[in-house]
């Protein structure tokens, strides 16, 4: 396709779409002027109905919990796919030597970097745990806290080097966290049915408003998401980092289908 033809098609498409886009943009509410009706409703009912102060968690884990369950399994499928793709050729073994570019000097890690990582790493993990545990009180929740925890493990890599990080992070534990978290979330949906309630109905006591223990079943679902996201993202980091390690020996022939 020649560039001129491409531009012509672009122009035609813009001409066709412009009136609709202009009409839609014209009818949007002004920037930052109002809170949508849905938001107003959520703000009004969340503290009374579920004793929850964080409306986003209320939406994610309670009134649209089924959507979050779907997202949970999307994440699980995406990470499983990545692991299968990357690990398929490489196998499950590991070495502690990273690959290096030829002719590039390997500078030893400075003590300042090591100290900074040892100081900030645990603090970051602590903050991640805080974000996870206070999902129903302050902004954040299982997903945000889980990603912060996963990033915290990367500080171990930065401070201790590849071998130290690889020693601390075990692939099987990550598998268990990822799958177990998703399972926990699914069980949160199924368990209420055992006592005769609807799927994912919030049957646990709601607790006190603005307290860590508020929201009932949301706290368990939140823990499931945190486990799955933390395990999943760390697994993703691990599999990508393993791509840069030195292969153990000659790779097995005949496995490469490409």
């Amino acid at each position: 396709m020649s560039p001129r033809l491409r531009l012509a098609i672009l122009g035609l498409a813009l001409l066709a779409l412009l009136p609709g886009a202009a009409a839609t943009i014209g009818h949007l509410p002004d920037f930052g002027s109002t809170i949508a009706a849905y938001g107003e409703t959520i703000n009004a009912i969340a503290p009374g109905e579920r004793h929850v102060a964080n409306m986003v968690s209320f939406i994610n884990f309670d009134i649209r919990g089924l959507d979050t369950l779907g997202e949970e399994f999307m994440l699980l499928a995406a990470i499983t796919g990545t692991v299968v793709l990357l690990r398929g050729k490489r196998g499950e073994g590991n070495t502690d030597r990273a690959m290096r570019l030829h002719g590039r000097a390997m500078l030893p890690r400075s003590e300042a970097v090591q100290l900074a990582c040892r100081l900030t790493g645990p603090l970051l993990m602590m903050f991640g745990l805080y974000v996870v545990l206070h999902a129903t009180v302050t902004p954040g929740g299982g997903f945000q806290g889980g990603v912060i925890l996963a990033s915290g493990t990367m500080l171990a890599y930065l401070g201790e080097g590849y071998a130290g990080w690889r020693d601390a992070v075990r692939s099987h534990w990550l598998d268990a966290m990822e799958g177990g978290g998703a399972l926990l979330f699914a069980l949160c949906g199924l368990a209420p049915m055992l006592v005769g309630a609807a799927f994912m109905q919030n049957v646990l006591p709601y607790g006190t408003f603005k307290d860590v223990f508020s929201g009932g079943l949301m706290l368990v679902e939140n823990a499931g998401v945190a486990l799955a996201v933390c395990g999943g993202f760390t697994q993703l980091f691990l599999e990508f980092m393993e791509e840069t390690r030195v292969p153990d020996g000659p790779e097995e022939p005949g496995e490469d289908s490409a």
Partner: protein
């Protein structure tokens, strides 16, 4: 508040354009991370702390890190292929 928002929106546009205009992949990754941080500040200013936390962790840390590692894996593999030692992947 609106002045801060204007500056932040301009910064978002500038850093987003910079991601496209910087052509060297390894520099591009850091510009992408900077764009993630600008977006984080913008979301905070727009009073969406949940989204800001996600953007900070995913947009400014996880995605650039994965790109960086992928780039490193491609380069080391390529270099070994050229020098004729090791298994190229």
């Amino acid at each position: 508040m609106s002045a801060i928002l204007g500056v932040l929106l301009l910064l978002t546009a500038a850093s987003g354009t910079a991601v496209v205009l910087v052509r060297d992949p390894s520099r591009q990754i850091f510009v992408l991370a900077a764009n993630g941080i600008v977006l984080t500040i913008l979301f905070t200013a727009l009073q969406a702390p949940d989204v800001a936390l996600s953007e900070l962790a995913v947009g400014a840390v996880a995605v650039p890190l994965l790109f960086l590692v992928a780039l490193m894996a491609v380069r080391t593999g390529h270099r070994e292929e050229n020098s004729g030692e090791g298994d190229a992947r």
